[in-house]
Amino acid sequence: MKIFSFTLVLCLLTLISQAQERNIKKKPKRPDNYIHMYGLRVGMDVSRSFQHLWNKGNRYGTEFSFDMELFPNFYPVVETGWEKLKIRQDYLDYSSAGSYTRIGFDYNMLVAENKKDRDIIYIGLRYGFNLANQEVKSFHVPNYWGDFNSSFPRQNYSAQWVEAVLGIKGEIFKNFFLGWSVRGRQKVGQKNFDLPHVYFDPGYGRAEKNFVFDFSYSIYYNFAIRFRKHKMPLQ
């Protein structure tokens, strides 16, 4: 009976995979299978400076991104930045700061209307890592018998995560782009401490959460430099 079930499942899987293969074959090839953007696009995430508006504490930073269309509709991306979080309240004076880098790619899902159309709607994947430090300059535990006051020196740590991105980039003037993205981050590694445990990961967010959402709003400039040897018309 087990052999029969196993054979049946195998047959079903084979049928499904054949059907999917046929569906894939039916999909028409993209008409915009050419390089839309030449050179390097450099961006700055302007939302990083205003994060204190929607996060607790004083969180701010700077982030730059670099991407280029290596293959038609395929954009390798490097994002790198620096972030700091300071929380000063009645019971604690905490700070964390560090730099981070994300490496990955974006794939443009929007079919260009013409050769001048460089707007993109993209999905992407990233691998991110940071190098950071945290410090508890002072803390205070209220107690009936007498308050307890102490501090923790600077501790260095790092974390890694993977990130899924969905966003748009639109060309508002020649070579100037504006864009936003939403991001889901899944932590894959964290150097941690017994006390105090890491509270904030630059480039990621709240360290105690294994999955976080974030968004970005960036401005970009495309340095339209020809890297390729073969001649293609510059947009």
């Binding site: 508006l53 929607w54 607790k56 504490g57 979080l85 929380i87 309240q89 009645d90 019971y91 604690l92 905490y94 803390f139 205070h140 535990v141 209220p142 107690n143 009936y144 018998w145 007498g146 307890f148 006390l195 105090p196 445990h197 509270y199 904030f200 105690e208």
Partner: protein, 151 residues
């Protein structure tokens, strides 16, 4: 713009750190029923700062010190002429816990031993030696009933 103004205008609000308190239940040593005396408690050396003042209760919460010993003066059914005063000593192992950067640090405790004088306190039972932020019964104190002629 209005929403933005609200966001900008809002100040961060932080909670105080949680407190791990030891819960004591009082049991009548004669009947083994829950006893409900009038309770006053303060720390030894903190007579000017009463932790509990004349509360009629079957159980009460005590905050342990961040050191390894906490000594309390426990007054049960305070009598005008003959106050029944006991000293309750808790030997504990405090453990510092980091809740978060928003709330701060607090202490959990492990009760190592209990000692007391025997005016009204007769016996004890540690029901859970871990004193945590989730308050629950940690010790039962068996108390002798008041004499019949007590006023």
């Amino acid at each position: 713009m209005f929403l933005l103004a609200i966001i900008v205008g809002c100040n961060d609000v932080y909670d105080a750190p949680p407190k791990s308190l030891m819960q004591v239940t009082l049991v009548n040593d004669d009947t083994l029923d829950i006893s409900i005396p009038i309770v006053s408690v303060y720390g030894v050396g903190h007579a000017d700062s009463l932790w509990i003042y004349q509360a009629q209760t079957r159980s009460f919460l005590l905050q342990l010190s961040t050191d390894t010993v906490s000594r309390f003066v426990v007054i049960l059914d305070s009598l005008k002429n003959n106050p029944q005063i006991d000293t309750l000593t808790i030997y504990q192992e405090p453990q510092l816990i980091f809740e978060s950067a928003e709330t701060g640090f607090y202490f959990d405790y492990k009760i190592k031993d209990i000692d007391y004088t025997h005016r009204r306190l007769v016996d004890d039972e540690v029901t859970d030696s871990l004193v945590t932020r989730n308050w629950h019964e940690n010790i039962q104190l068996y108390i002798s009933p008041l004499p019949a002629n007590a006023n």
